[in-house]
Amino acid sequence: MSAAREQQRQELLRFLRSIQKAGLPVERLADGDPLVASGLIDSLAILQIVTWLETTYGIDFAVRGIAPEDLATIGGILEVIGESAGRSPA
């Protein structure tokens, strides 16, 4: 895993900790585990993730398009960040 992706991952985990439901450690989730179905966040939190990605990484979803499935896992979100940075995720 590249240093940039690892840094993005840590930033994402920090953010998820700030919006997650109590009592479910985000560290337990693998990159492919579903965030909503695992109970870590509710489906509305996807909107908070969208807003966070817009402000933190400047992603314009109006241009890129968006589907809830893209943001359903940690790996999916990292992929969106990777794509926006113009490089494929490591």
């Binding site: 919006i19 997650q20 439901k21 109590a22 009592g23 509710d42 489906s43 509305l44 909107l47 969208v50 807003t51 817009e54 314009d60 979803f61 109006a62 241009v63 890129r64 398009g65 968006i66 589907a67 809830p68 499935e69 893209d70 794509e83």
Partner: protein
Amino acid sequence: MAGSVIVAVTRPVMDLRKAGPTFGFEPGMLEGLLVVLLLATWLWGWYRAARQFRSLPALVQRHPLLCLHGGFWLLLLVLWTTQPAQPPVRGVLVGCAVALPFLLWRLGYLLLAAQRGRLTGTRLRDHLIYLWPTWGGTDTPYGKGHDYLKGVEAQDVEALARSQLAGLKLFVLALACAIGKDLIEGLVFGEDNGIRRALGGITLGIPTLDAHLLAPRGAHPIWTGWAALYFELFRLVLRMGANGHVIVGCLRLFGFNVFRNTYKPLLAETIVDFWNRYYFYFKELLVNTFFLPTFTRWFRQSPRLRLLAAVFAAAFFGNLYYHVIKSAPLVRGDWMALAAMFNPRLIYCFLLATGIYLSMRRQQLRPGATAPRSRPRRAVAILGVWTFFSVIHVWHRGEASFADRVDFVTGLVGIG
């Protein structure tokens, strides 16, 4: 292969011939075949456009769904303004207008996937299962589009078996829902059906919601009004389960282990949760087509307004639009009939959107609330959700006038 092609052509022709009279036309076989040919060409054209998405004009790249629906409205405009009287031309144009809503939402998923660069390495045949579903379906694409289906597709024999077993389970559940629906219709509402006859014709004989709405004030006691409201909701949920489980069951038999369309909505403790569980793929359609595009484009500086606009774009405008474009008065250009048909639904969609927005805001204001509620509190919450959806259903459809509906609702709480 040849069999699939035959079904792919004949099924829509048969469906058109069946639906035709509602829209004031009776297509012959030739007209039906011409419609299918034109629709297939239209679909192919959009597929080609989606494949070359990055080379399309900037306007199309930024607003693919608007452009897609623009084509449909252009067709309606031609139909309204030229009023072609010749049977083959008129029949073909009306046929296309009637059938296009079925394709619009499916092509929407294709274009949204193209916008996100998700069509790489796919062929047309990979998309046909949702674009042109010979196995059935409704205007709402169950299983959404290709990338969603790809994500839940069985990758090995064991996963396929698991998916198929889940599909069979859904068929059993669909049967149970159908029996439950018949029980309500027979034993509660007194409709004549096999179950009621088998049980010796017994019934509570509560008038249906429609009967209550059309009856003069005071014709029925208040308690039957409330009973009709709640049982109508139960009937709707069971009907949704009976139909949706079959469609999702088919997809699961094909190895796409997709979410259920209806998942225990009567246990939902919030309005937004009920909306999520009651008709999942319709909600997803509204979210993907209206909610997210609005949320990502408008009022970014104002979180509350942003959410409000997105919710109303989906649950109010989108919900209304979905039903308007497949209505007979629109195709006929009969504005008075269109207004009469959708007046109550306007209220329904407004109340629904307001309820969903308030429910979402309430949920947002309680982040991290995971402590399970006590049973009595859960029961109260569930009853509240039932009541909300039962009452707004008064405005959902039917023949009753606006005044009749207001009269009924106020009568429920003893006003007037």
